[in-house]
């Protein structure tokens, strides 16, 4: 009896412990995720990994990121508050008025995009270095490409924020404080110097959308052009030389028609040096029609989604195209005011210069594909053509009661009829016309009477079907650069370089020197200061 009992107890105990100790493994089993343990093994996986180096460029076409921030603090674009619409806690008005603060989300988004790019480049460089050590022959080319991309991220960091942690080694896990602008400048320059001759020079399908020698030279040319701002020591001769290297490379030339560079299918442009290829199917995120067009523009373009009515063009900037004095050329009717004809149709009420580059804008009355007028039932009483949708270059106020149809809209990239919120146009990062203007400016800075400088500018003007300039001045050069490079993220740099960043435009009053110094740099985002105790804020914020 006793033994039976003991045996039973023993059996129970054994049974329980068997059950118990067999199931204590707590490793996570993955099904729909990859980790470094089960990825980056095949060539295909590696190429997919390399692709991540370019993913951060996807932020270029979004609202509230690098491009938006650069444009909205310049005299090109503005987002007015239309009643309750587009106030967003004042962050948009702050950008225009140069009163922005470190908690403005635009800056954190920008920082995130740029440092996300740096980080990915560091990681991939580390991975390809390991492959190189194992004797992979193509690793060197990939590493050069990644260093070029990283140099571009750091160029934008240095240009926008002025300072930032300089991290180049993926395995270095120490949190770093900010390097100075000079330190970043030196790093970018030395990196580009090291790789510019290793990068591919072909202009074909293998290099489309990738970092080439020409793209790297474009970065370095811009670095040198603005060197006076960045370091106090101008480098115009070097800028001119880099631009000339691209020109002499003979891979690019001006397209006969300006707007072809921005067509829905602009992959064939001979002028675009480096683009980020967007696609409505494969690579969404280029949202300009949503960001700029009016709600009722949906019916004009038959978009699958309703636009948001945000970004407009600053009135003076729009006017710089049609002004016959500062931009001489053939005259004709242009949209400026609010006049209507007997049919209550808006008419181009002013004579002005018919610059070919007015294709940069959507302005005037809007018609549906059927030819009917597009309707905006919530029109303001002041609008003389009633409910008809038309974009007037005039913007009445920054807010709170800005006209919903006020301001010309961005028309730079062609909008696809029946399009989705994601455009298929490829985003132009560097363009040959910019290179010509860089060389022109550098030469003109070295010598105001430089003949080649004037010739280069007039190449641009002639292509735009306006009258060539007789001579170059700071004002007419800056204005010409503005007309050509509208919405291509150069304007903030240009205004700062020309010392015009403190000027009044739109609803922003003229600012004193201290203010210009402060707002010429973006604030280090509050979230980044929260996350990294070694970071300090830029002066004045």
């Amino acid at each position: 009896m006793k033994r039976t009992f003991l045996r039973k107890i023993w059996a129970i105990g054994l049974g329980m412990s068997l059950v118990t100790f067999s199931c204590t493994n707590l490793d996570e089993e993955l099904f729909d995720q990859v980790t470094a343990d089960n990825f980056f093994r095949t060539d295909q996986e590696l190429i997919a990994g390399l692709g991540a180096a370019y993913s951060s460029f996807g932020g270029l076409g979004n609202h509230s990121n690098l491009w938006s921030t650069n444009e909205l603090v310049s005299d090109e674009l503005i987002i007015t508050t239309k009643g309750g619409d587009w106030f967003d806690g004042g962050v948009l008005q702050q950008l225009h008025l140069h009163t922005f603060t470190p908690d403005n989300g635009f800056f954190n988004n920008t920082w995130g995009m740029l440092y996300g790019g740096v980080n990915t480049a560091n990681r991939l460089i580390f991975q390809f270095e390991e492959l190189k050590a194992k004797g992979n022959p193509s690793a060197d080319a990939f590493i050069a490409e990644l260093r070029a991309i990283r140099a571009l991220w750091y160029f934008w960091i240095m240009d926008g924020f002025g300072r930032g942690p300089l991290v180049t080694d993926f395995t270095d896990t120490e949190v770093k404080g900010a390097s100075t602008r000079q330190q970043l400048y030196t790093f970018i320059e030395s990196e580009l110097n090291a790789i510019v001759d290793v990068l591919p020079t072909a202009k074909d399908a293998t290099t489309y959308g990738r970092m080439t020698k020409w793209a790297a030279l474009s970065v370095r040319a811009k670095l040198y052009l603005n060197a006076g701002v960045y370091t106090g020591t101008p480098q115009y001769a070097k800028a001119a030389a880099d631009a000339k290297a691209i020109i002499d490379g003979a891979k690019f030339n001006l397209e006969p028609t300006y707007k072809d560079n921005f067509a829905v299918n602009n992959a064939g442009s001979n002028e675009n040096i480096f683009v980020y290829p967007y696609d409505k199917v494969f690579n969404g995120g280029f949202n300009w029609p949503m960001m700029t067009l009016h709600y009722a523009s949906q019916t004009v373009y038959n978009f699958t989604a309703q636009p948001w009515n945000g970004y407009s063009v600053v009135e003076e900037f729009y006017n710089s195209y049609s002004n016959p004095v500062t931009n001489p050329g053939p005259q004709g009717p242009v949209w400026l005011g609010l006049a209507v004809d007997a049919n209550n149709d808006k008419v181009p009420d002013t004579q002005g210069t018919l610059d070919d580059r007015l294709s940069n804008f959507v302005v005037g009355p809007q018609y549906k594909p059927s030819g009917e007028k597009a309707i905006d039932p919530a029109f303001e009483g002041i609008d003389p053509d009633g409910t008809n949708l038309n974009f007037t270059p005039k913007i009445n106020e920054l807010g709170p009661n800005a006209w919903r149809q006020g301001g010309a809209r961005i028309g730079k990239y062609a909008y696809e009829l029946g399009g989705t919120p994601n455009m298929s146009n490829d985003f132009v990062v560097f363009r040959y016309a910019d290179i010509l203007l860089i060389r022109a400016e550098a030469l003109w800075r070295i010598s105001n009477a430089d003949a080649e400088a004037l010739t280069l500018v007039n190449q641009i003007r002639t292509r735009a079907k306006v009258t060539p300039f007789a001579s170059l001045t700071a004002d007419n050069f800056l204005a010409e650069r503005g007309r050509e490079m509208f919405a291509e993220m150069t304007r903030r740099q240009d205004l700062i370089r020309f010392g015009k960043f403190g000027q009044a435009w739109g609803f922003k009053p003229a600012k004193d020197a201290a203010s210009v110094t402060k707002y010429s740099l973006f604030p280090i985002p509050k979230q980044q200061l929260d996350a990294n105790s070694k970071l300090t804020q830029n002066p004045g914020y």
Binding site: F5, K8, I9, M16, V19, C23, T24, L26, D27, L30, D32, Q33, V34, T35, E45, A48, G51, A52, Y54, G58, T81, G83, G84, D85, F87, D88, G89, G90, G105, G112, Y115, G116, N119, V167, T173, E174, V175, K176, Y208, G209, P277, V281, N283, G285, Y295, A296, N302, T304, Q306, P377, A378, E380, G381, P400, N401, G418, K526, D530, A531, L535
Partner: protein
């Protein structure tokens, strides 16, 4: 008293013996008197029932009674505050009964983790609600049965969406991380799905409130535990019961907006020529049918209960409702000379739901009241020619509210299956008091969605192309547990020991696809291959799968010393695959003790008094799997050699140290009964500290791969008291009145948002909860500040209206300029969390009638009324595009929408949650029908509140961002509240 009790028991035993000796099989009259054993006085109002029939009577004012009984009758004497007695009549014609007062009204059995305990032995904060105390009316979700019934347990659902779920918070907000809702355990199935249980099948629900009671559930007990026990069969009975009801439901409250007539008086209005009451257009009278048929019974060795539940509900919103079929079988069989007990539980639920479109409520409120419903033209301002004939306008953020519902389908099919087997073996013949049990359960939940927006639908219709989606999710979990119980009397002390092992794994998977561009609407979501989006590369597909598992060892020791002192200690050592590799296992201990003071000293007019104190540590799991790992994911596309290829990049930073959130809780309480047990009550004070909450913090990138890492961070403190009282106020023969109530108070403080390395907020302040479009996207309305209470609504302080129509705000920092976007001129403008919630119940019986009236409410919280924040103004956009919200606060001088303190309102409320009146049909003794009751119940009959929004109910999280840090906001798509009347019958035979 004990002596007396023994005497009565002996006396009764003699009676019983005598009764059985001389029994005659014939009907006759029995008379007698019921007296109290305390003082010998007659007790009026005692229920006297012939056992097994509905034949019964009630004692008169002197305690005398008279009843006709059949042969072999047994009489059951019952009365509130006294122990029920059974007396076999035998040959007696006079029976005098002395009723023993119920020494402890605390003698009921309470379900606790892994077992049951007598209430008098409980040393932690546990509340048990029996089915007779559940909320009345049409109740589709089991937790609704408890709404307002348990002090400290708050169950909220704003609005009356029949498919909407409830938010459950025990003792306020205990975490700002994941898993803020209590763990649900159904008949031992941990994490059981409440949708497998029909409210009709629930016997009791027990709530483990404090840390010591919940600690046996370890890393999942942090937000409290709700134990659901379903009904089962009883030995020696065979019963059939049917419960059926039909309910009608109407809109109770929405947002006041201008009528067409009022709107036409507003300067600048857009008159579209019609008069439409949009709220009327998009709602209807809802209805609900519930049928429950249950068969139960049992022989010596087998008991069973089987039930079928049918529910058919149509909500007040068009196309919102469901049809549900639920079946449940419980079978218990004894074997091996009754030493082995096997219990099988099977449950299955299928639910076909139409989800309606909550946006129709939003746009129903916004819609211009002069707009026609239909307009089939192509040129008018409301031309709906291309929108299926529904009038539409080309303005921002507007859709025809009726078209939203009628041209959009959103369907969901749910399937829930649950099976469990418990095998117990009693080893008492070998070792006295030794029992062993093994338990296995499996649960499978699947949701299958389909949605379609017609080509002509402006909302979702993809600009004339149509859009469809289908998706399915499946969640499976299996639980295996073994437990050993050992009970021993150590002379003077009873010892109860429990040890166990638990293994549970979870596997979730799903897939879905969506695309548009159809030639015809004919297929809706049933033929997705015809969507040209897939041919054009614009369709989207997804699939996923993930798993996690939990392993635990647990034990508990309960000591009962002479029925006077009680001590309990428990611990669970638990590991989870979701924890980081350096922290896979956590220990969750608890200890509690109690003393029945009334056994030791005599306190005048107090029948019993037990003091208790407890301390327990519980945990909380990460909200999802794999968050401690470094993962890569598809980051988009990349143009490579002329074609787009996928690019892969990092998705998360690794955190191998990730562990559980920890909550330590102290609870002091007492349970008492006094005034001859007429007044009973429970009081608790709790104080909880939650640390190591699992939250994403911003980290510098580089060196980190991505900008956020999930870490353990922060500290939250939480305290309050809970009181529940029950008083049998009137106990007359024909009339009884019992009144009861409960209240729980809450104080939640954000102590810290950082740890040694990371900051959730560098400056100790976070802003949450964007107000939204149009125009107020960057306006954060909630502030979270270290050292301050959780739930602060934050904004500018209203100070009238400026001449230009903008709001005038108080210059808080006194610097002469008012900047409502700066913190200098913003302040705390409300508190989103309540300071107390309460319930208040009255039940009456009068002869064969019964009536129950139940109120609940909350005080101390405010709500931000979003509708007012956007649309209660004369801004041009509002007037031209939409209708104007018109509450008592409407000020036509305001021409600029800008949310501020004027839009934050006190939301204290008292609600007549439910009220029911029933009639028990008196039945002849021995009739085939055992009981028959008719009832009528009303739910949400009225609400006393000054809040002008849809529902003053507490919002524990922001419904737009699903953010637990941002309570107190009523968003714009809140389903209207409803009022329900139910007529029903309960039939048993």
């Amino acid at each position: 008293m004990t002596k007396l009790y023994l005497f009565v028991r002996r006396y009764l035993a003699v009676l019983l013996v005598l009764g059985t000796l001389v029994s005659f099989a014939q009907e006759r009259v029995v008379t007698g008197k019921v007296t109290s054993s305390d003082d010998g006085s007659g007790i009026p109002g005692v229920n006297i029932l012939e056992k097994g029939s509905s034949n019964g009577t009630v004692s008169d004012s002197d305690g005398n009674f008279r009843i006709s009984v059949g042969s072999n009758a047994t009489l059951v004497f019952s009365f509130v505050g006294y122990q029920a007695q059974e007396v076999t009549v035998g040959s007696q014609s006079a029976i005098n009964v002395s009723m023993q007062s119920d020494v402890t009204a605390l003698s009921e059995v309470v379900v606790v983790g892994y077992g049951t305990q007598e209430k008098k032995e409980i040393t932690s904060a546990v509340t048990s609600i029996k089915s007779e105390d559940f909320n009345k009316g049409t109740v589709n979700d089991p937790v609704q049965l408890l709404q307002g019934k348990v002090a400290g347990l708050n169950i909220t659902r704003a609005g009356g969406d029949p498919n909407g779920g409830f938010n459950i918070r025990l003792r306020g907000v205990g975490t700002i991380g994941a898993n803020a809702e209590p763990l649900v355990v159904i008949d031992g199935i941990i994490g059981g799905s409440l949708s497998t249980v029909d409210p009709n099948d629930i016997l009791s629900i027990d709530v483990l409130k404090d840390g010591s009671a919940a600690a046996i559930y370890g890393s999942r007990g942090g937000s409290g535990v709700i134990l659901v026990t379903t009904k089962s069969g009883k030995k020696g009975t065979t019963q059939v019961s049917y419960n059926g009801s039909y309910a009608i439901e109407n809109v109770n409250n929405s947002i006041p907006v201008m009528t067409a007539e009022e709107y036409r008086q507003v300067p600048g209005h857009v008159d579209l020529g019609s008069t439409t009451d949009w709220l009327d257009v998009i709602t209807r009278q809802g209805n609900a049918q519930v049928h429950n048929l249950a068969l139960s019974g049992g022989s010596q060795s087998t008991t069973y209960r089987a039930s079928i539940n049918v529910r058919n509900t149509n909500g007040v919103g068009l196309k919102s409702g469901f049809e549900q079929l639920n079946g449940r079988l419980t079978l218990t069989q004894k074997a091996l000379k009754d030493r082995a007990t096997f219990t099988v539980n099977l449950a299955s639920t299928t639910k076909d739901a139409q989800l309606g479109n909550a946006a129709s409520f939003n746009y129903g409120i916004l819609a211009n009241p002069t707009m026609p419903i239909y307009d089939n033209t192509t040129t008018s301002p409301t031309a709906g020619g291309r929108f299926g004939g529904y009038a539409e306008r080309d303005i921002f953020d507007f859709f025809n509210p009726l078209s939203l519902v009628e041209q959009n389908e959103r369907d969901k099919k749910e399937t829930r299956q649950q099976a469990s087997l418990r095998a117990e073996y009693d080893f008492s013949d070998l070792v006295e008091g030794l029992r062993f049990a093994a338990f296995y359960s499996a649960q499978r939940e699947s949701d299958f969605y389909g949605s379609y927006s017609k080509k002509s639908a402006k909302f979702g219709g993809n600009n004339g192309l149509g859009f469809a989606s289908r998706s399915t999710d499946q969640r499976v979990n299996e639980l295996f547990e073994t437990t050993v119980n050992f009970d021993k009397n150590l002379g003077g002390a009873d010892l109860a020991l429990l040890a166990g092992y638990s293994y549970q794994d979870f596997y979730n998977e799903g897939f879905g696809l969506s695309g548009g561009n159809f030639v015809t609407d004919a297929f809706t979501y049933n033929n997705l291959s015809t969507a040209l989006d897939f041919n054009n590369g614009l369709g989207s597909v997804f699939s996923y799968a993930n798993s996690n598992k939990l392993v635990a060892f647990f034990g508990r020791a309960n000591v009962n010393i002479g029925g006077n002192y009680f001590v309990s200690a428990s611990a669970r050592y638990e590991g989870s695959s979701r924890f980081g590799e350096n922290n896979k296992w956590g220990l969750f201990p608890a200890v509690s003790a109690g003393v029945t003071l009334s056994n030791l000293i005599d306190i005048p007019s107090v029948n019993s008094l037990k003091l208790r104190a407890s301390y327990g540590v519980t945990g909380n799991q990460p909200g999802s799997s794999y968050i401690s790992l470094q993962k890569f994911t598809r980051t988009g596309s990349f143009f490579y050699n002329g074609v787009f290829g996928p690019s892969y990049g990092p998705q998360s930073n690794p955190n191998p140290d990730l562990k559980w959130e920890t909550k330590a809780e102290i609870d002091f309480g007492f349970d008492f009964a006094m005034l001859n047990n007429k007044l009973t009550g429970t009081f608790d004070y709790y104080n909880r500290t939650t640390t190591d909450m699992i939250l994403p913090v911003n980290v510098p990138q580089p060196p980190n791969l991505v900008q956020q890492t999930e870490v353990n961070i922060g500290e939250l403190k939480n305290s309050g008291f809970e009181l529940s009282l029950n008083y049998a106020a009137i106990t007359k023969p024909d009339f009884t009145w019992t009144v009861g109530g409960n209240i729980g108070t809450y104080k939640t403080q954000v102590v810290s948002l950082k740890n040694d390395i990371y900051n959730f907020a560098e400056t100790g302040v976070l802003y949450r909860s964007s107000m939204g479009a149009p125009g107020q996207s960057a306006v954060q309305t909630v502030r979270v500040k270290e050292g301050d209470p959780l739930g602060q609504l934050w904004g500018a302080l209203y100070d009238g209206v400026n001449a230009d129509g903008s709001y005038k705000f108080v210059d808080i920092d006194g610097d002469g300029t008012v900047d409502p976007t700066s913190d200098d001129d913003r302040t705390v403008i409300g508190n989103g969390l309540p300071s107390a919630t309460f319930g208040f119940n009255n039940s009456f019986t009068y002869k064969h009638f019964d009536m129950n009236i139940f109120f609940n409410g909350a005080i101390g919280h405010e709500l931000l009324n979003s509708y007012r924040g956007f649309y209660e103004n004369n801004e041009t956009t509002t007037i031209k595009n939409w209708n104007i919200v018109k509450t008592e606060f409407y000020d036509p001088k305001v021409t600029k929408a800008n949310v501020n303190s004027i839009h934050v309102e006190k939301a204290d409320f008292l609600r007549l949650n439910n009220m029911s009146i029933g009639y028990n049909v008196p039945l002849e003794s021995g009739a085939a029908v055992r009981n028959l009751r008719f009832f009528v119940a009303g739910q949400n009959l009225f609400t006393l509140t000054n809040y002008t929004g849809v529902d003053p109910e507490v919002r524990y999280k922001d419904t737009d961002s699903d953010d637990g840090l941002a309570p107190g906001i009523e968003r714009r798509s809140t389903y209207f509240t409803t009022r329900t009347f139910t007529f029903g019958v309960n039939l048993g035979f």
